[in-house]
Every structure is written in structure tokens, then in C-alpha cells.
Amino acid sequence: MPRIGVFICHCGENIGATVDAAAVAKAAGELPGVVHAVDYKYMCSDPGQNLIKEAIREKKLTGVVVGACSPRMHEPTFRRACAEAGLNAFLCEMANLREHCSWVHEKLPETTEKAIDLVRVMVEKVKRNRPLFPINVPITKTALVLGGGIAGIQAALDIANAGHPVVLVEREASIGGHMAQLSETFPTLDCSQCILTPRMVEVAQHPNIRLYTYSELESLEGFIGNFKAVIRKKARGIDEATCTGCGACIQKCPTKKIPSEFNAHLGHRTAIYVPFPQAVPNKPVIDRAHCTYYRTGKCKLCERVCPTKALRYDQEDLLVEVAVGAVVVATGYEVKGTDFFPEYGYGRYKDVITGLQFERLASASGPTLGAIRRPSDGQVPETVVFIACAGSRDPAKGLHYCSKICCMYTAKHAMLYKHKVHHGRPYVFYMDIRAGGKMYEEFVRRAIEEDQVSYIRGRVSRIYEKNGKLIVKGVDTLLNSRPVEIAADLVVLATAMVPQPDAEALAQKMKISYDGDRFLNEAHPKLRPVEMNTAGIFVAGACQAPKDIPETVAQASGAASKVIGLFSKDELSREPVVAVVNRTAPPLFSTCVGCFLCETACPYQAIEREEIKDRNGNVLKTVARVNQGVCQGCGTCVALCRSKSIDLQGFTNEQVFAELVAL
């Protein structure tokens, strides 16, 4: 027989003034199974908790109901008290007599009656509670970081510096990401490569970081603490261990006119190449689509000049399996190309370029060695028009959001241009100036006031070529909405930031969610900004939403600290409020019939398939199994299961049913 103890709290006057606590305790004492019922001024106080502990010991209680405030307030307090007295914490329940009763009703007999009902319901529930124990899941203390831009670099270094192994996977031949392409960074105008490359080197030399460049995630399985990732190491065509990075092959490569991705197609590269001189690792890859040998079967000039004989033309992609406990997704962004804008020439005009291309023009390591020269004829442009919000905040273009960094980098571009071409005339067309950030507004003011950049508030409707000039037709909405026409030599579009083209495929591969714009969805927009909904997967940088470098780095460190926190324990301890699929004696094994309709209802993909086999290994039955490391305990599967084969610990069918019957 159950031996339930009921403890009614007055909460000073909070409950006592409206509810007759003594009457509630008395009524509770008469309920079947209740062997102890008292009321007390403050149950949560030390003396109050001691009342519970003593009763548990003396009356050998098998369950406790505390009628007090909301369980959302003090359930942990009373459960801890019970545990200290030797009663399993999950044999303690609370009846909410304060928030749901005394505070919301008048002092009337009905209010005390309701309080008695609430206690009776919980007594019936607690009679059916079972001892539950925290679920322990072992943790593989290795992190996988996807993406070797500044977000991935920061996250990898933070985790590695905390002493945990990191596997860093980068799709391109070098880490560095977009930040390596930038000329100078706002609002300080320090050189991007100067601050980034030391970090890249640190990654390469870090004993805890295993770096896979020119590699991609092939698959990810498992759950928090226990993921299995397969990485596709694409064939570089060279043996990295042998190659010294001397660059002789690159010098001799006869195919030299391939548009350079690193230079945003403004410069050229060879077929065997490193993306840029400071690449990490400084080992070339062969671009098989352009290489003469792969296309015609003849050449191999690079092999002839290689002093270490490192060329491996028949190298194949390699699949590497790694066990990791956490994943940081930092796959970054790309910008829309000029071909996205029919009204701005549909990519036809060579001198209409993107902001990223301007970065390469302004960069000392770029195709013009930092001189601002227009792509069509190499002339120094006298008039440059910068157009902010190219695509962003434009529902007609399908992009509703603000790309966030364009206001700042457009100001920076105009400033850099003015610094390099003193007599030049920079114009900026803008919708609003969004310069929220430390020293950001000051930076924009500097562009306008010191560098005399002409800011025109209005949109540009069309760009067309006439007499060697690009005619930029827009409107100045602050000047009585007068149409404006500027004959420019170069036009720079601050094109919208969008997720990587395969962001959706990657998210599906990892079973993480993404929004309508294909940016990854964090678990909570405010309170869980670096976690994904799938436990153990974290996010950093612009793959989640447009953001600038400081924000990206902050989020990367945030994600890293979440990983480090996770790795601070050997086992993951989780609340045992999870779903379980029942098991019964053979030949049934479980009442589950394996229809797996619950599979897609689970928001966490926690439902697995378990094959029940006989001793010869023949499959007798396939039934559902809930992965307790993944299940978050919502119970959607429980309500869906027709045969009632899944139940939710802590909120079992039996418990909830008993609550209803007690009403």
C-alpha cells in the first residue's frame, strides 16, 4: 500500500489568507493512502523542509505531495529535500495552491474546495510515480567544427585551448574563409589578413586540432556526446606529407587563365594552385576540371618540376570516419552576384561589381595590388557609386531581411576609395544607415564628414552604359524626391548576404532546421542563440544569420564555451523525463508493432528502429526504441501511439489518467 505524506504550505499569508490550509491538510489526511498530512507556515524554509524529511524517515513515506507554490518555483527545492531524506526525488509532486488558487480566487469556500481537489489530484498521481534516475550518456570529448572561416577558426581554437581535440573541416583548399578576402575591417580599418593569418597558423600548428581542408561532411549520425561523422577528403592530386609547398608546380603550370575564386573572379589562377599566398595549409590542389593532364591525358609539367615528387594524379577521394561528441556548424555565407539584378545590367557591365570584388580591388594582395582600378580597362575611376541594400530588404527580390554588414562596409569602401583616389567622387545610395555597434556610427560620420562621401537617400532604379560611362538613375528622397542621374566609372553593389548554396542540403544531412531564407535556426532566438535544436550541435557565424566579424567571433566563442561545458563532464546527465517504448515477454517482445508513424512526429529524431533477433541472428521483429540521449520528453509520440506502447516517464498515461479520475 502507498504511504503518502501531504504537506500544505501557508506561504505566510499568500495561501493562508484565502485558503483554509488546515482544512486542506485535514481533508488530505482522509484520502486513501495518505498516512501523514500537516500544514505549516513556510514549507520551503529549513524547518518546513525538515518536517518533510522527518516524516519521510519516521512514517516511511513512499510519496510526497507539497501543496504550496508553483512547481516551476520550488519543485527542485522539495525534490532535493526528499532525496536528502532517502526518497527518490521523482516521488515528490507539488500541488499549485498559490499561483493557481489562492492568488487568483477570493476567500470563499469554493477556493478551499479547489485547493483540496488540486491536492487530491496530485495524491492520485504520486501514488503511481516510479523512482526515476538521471540518464547518463557517455561523451566523446572531441569536437567537429564545420567551416574554416573566422567563426570556425575561433571556435576550434577556443575548444582546442581548453584541452579538447578538434576536427576542423574546410571545403576550400585553405582555411580563412571570406575574412581572408577582405582588405581592411571596419571600424578600425586594420588589415584583415594581418589579424587573421596568425590565427590560421595557430590552427595549423595546434596539437589539439586535426585539420581537414579540401574536405566536406559526408554524413552525420548519432546524438549528443556520441556522433559519428564521415568526412570526404577530396583528392588534392598531391601527397600532402611529401609536398613542401615550394610552389614550383604553380609557376610552371601552363593553364593560367582560370578565374580566381579567392579574387572574386577579378584575377586569375593556375590549374594547380593555392588559393592565396598565405594559405593554410600552403599545399596546392589540382583543379581537375581545368588541368590539361586531366582534360587531355598529356602535360604533367608539374610532376617534372616537383623537387619532392609529391604529385599523385590517381589519388582518389578518401572517406574518414571520426567519433565526436559535439558539432559546431560555421559554414558561413556568400553574396549575391551582380547577375541577380536585371535593373543593374544583369551582370553584363564589367564595371558593376559586388562589395566582395571591391574588397579584392582594395586589398594589397589583390589583382591590382590595392590600386582602385576598374575591371573593364584598368582605369582609375573618377566617380564611384556605391549602392547599399542591393537585394537586401527587397521583397520583390525574395530577400526580406537586412544583410546587416553592408551599411558599414559601404562606408568603409567609400572611405578606402577616397583615401586611395583623393580627387575621386564617391556616392552612396542608401535606404537607412544602420550603424549599431561600438564606434560604428562614428565611423559612418567620419566617412560623410571627413572623407566627404556623398550620401544620397534613395534607391537606384537602373544602371545603363552610355558613352563609356555607367549612368546610375536613382532618386533623392530627401531632396523633394528629385530624380538623380550620376555618370559613374565604377558601381559597387552591396549585394545581399545569403547562405551557402548547399546550406539546405547540409542542414538536411545533419537533421537541423533552417528558415525560409535557408539560414540555420538556433534553438531559441533569444535564450539559446548558439545551440541548434538537435542537442550537441551548435552554430556560429553567418550561416545562422548575417553578422559582422565581432559578432561572429563572439558567437563562435559562445558556441565553443557550450562545447567546453558539455565536455567538462565524463557523462551527460539528463532529466529522466523521456519517452520509453515498452518491452514485454516473448513472443511479443513489445506491444509496439513497428509502424513507425511516430518517427516523423518526433521533433528530435529520437525514435530509432531496434531489431529483435533470435539466437541465430534472425530478425523476429522490428520495434521502436527511444534514444534517451536525444529525447527531450515532449510526449508527442505518446499521444500518437495507437497501441499505447510508448509512455512518458513522469507523465505516464497511468498518472495522467489517475489525475482525471480523481477530479
Binding site: S70, R98, E99, Y604, C634, T636, L660, V661
Partner: protein, 153 residues
């Protein structure tokens, strides 16, 4: 009291999720907003956990009205439990209506953890409406002799 002709006081059962509506009802309390004491809450982790059979049980146990409430779409603590629940309710309501269950007695609402006032208004409104309808005698009731859930040994 026994001489007064007392108005019919309906019995209301509310199935609520832990993260939004239960917390919202907590806020009603913290804000000291008063509402009718007729309602009894059944706390569940998520609206996705609410089995339609529980609603039938509530009516069978004499509830005159039922409230089902959880997080607004998009706010589910478990991301999608309420979306699944919503589909189930849509079908369940259609069936209830077809077999002659009075839908005026089944109320669905999204009440967030910040909507303490909405919770009070909801309970009061449902109470007034059910009061006007009177006791739900047309719904068959649980027989006394029916076996109770097994007691814990």
C-alpha cells in the same frame, strides 16, 4: 446558502503545456488577476502530449467544459509539439461535431507564458459560456462500478 438559488457552477478541466500556458497561469497568479475558481489544470509537458482520449475521459468524469491550451505556433518549447497537436485537434473536432458532441464545450487557445491576463479572460469566458449551456448531461458518464486504475502496491 442553502436558501439561495445558486447559479449552475460548471466544472472545467484544462489540459495545458508546462512551458507556456501553465507558466502563463502562474503569471496570472503573480499578477493577482482574479478568475473563476471552476477550472482544474492538468499539467503536461507539451500540447503534443495531450491524447484525445483524455478529453473524453474529462467529459466522462463530469466536466461540463474542457480547455486545451499551449504555446503559440512557433513558440513550442519542443519546437513542433503544438503543430502536431493542432492537426490532431482539427481532426478530432470534426469527428466530435459529427457524432454530436457539443463543440461549444471544447475550447482551444494559445496562451503564452506572458499572457497571464489572457488566461484569466479565457477561463472566465469559457465559464460564462458553459454556464449558459448548463450541465453537460447529454455526454455519457463514467459508471461508478468501473474499475479504477490499479493502485500502487
Amino acid at each position: 446558502m442553502e436558501f439561495a438559488v445558486s447559479a449552475f457552477e460548471p466544472k472545467l478541466v484544462a489540459f495545458v503545456c508546462n512551458w507556456c500556458t501553465y507558466a502563463g497561469a502562474d503569471l496570472t497568479g503573480t499578477s493577482r488577476i482574479k478568475y473563476a475558481p471552476n477550472v482544474r489544470l492538468i499539467r503536461l509537458p507539451c500540447t503534443g502530449r495531450i491524447d484525445f482520449m483524455l478529453l473524453l475521459q474529462a467529459f466522462g468524469k463530469g466536466a461540463d467544459g474542457v480547455i486545451v491550451s499551449g504555446c503559440h505556433p512557433g513558440d513550442c518549447h519542443y519546437t513542433a509539439g503544438n503543430f502536431h497537436a493542432r492537426r490532431r485537434w482539427t481532426l478530432f473536432r470534426r469527428l466530435l461535431d459529427f457524432v454530436g458532441v457539443d463543440l461549444r464545450r471544447v475550447h482551444f487557445a494559445w496562451v503564452s507564458a506572458a499572457e497571464g491576463a489572457k488566461w484569466a479572460e479565457l477561463v472566465n469566458d469559457v465559464k460564462t459560456k458553459i454556464q449558459a449551456l448548463g450541465p453537460y448531461d447529454a455526454f455519457p458518464k463514467r459508471l461508478d462500478g468501473r474499475p479504477q486504475p490499479a493502485e500502487v502496491a
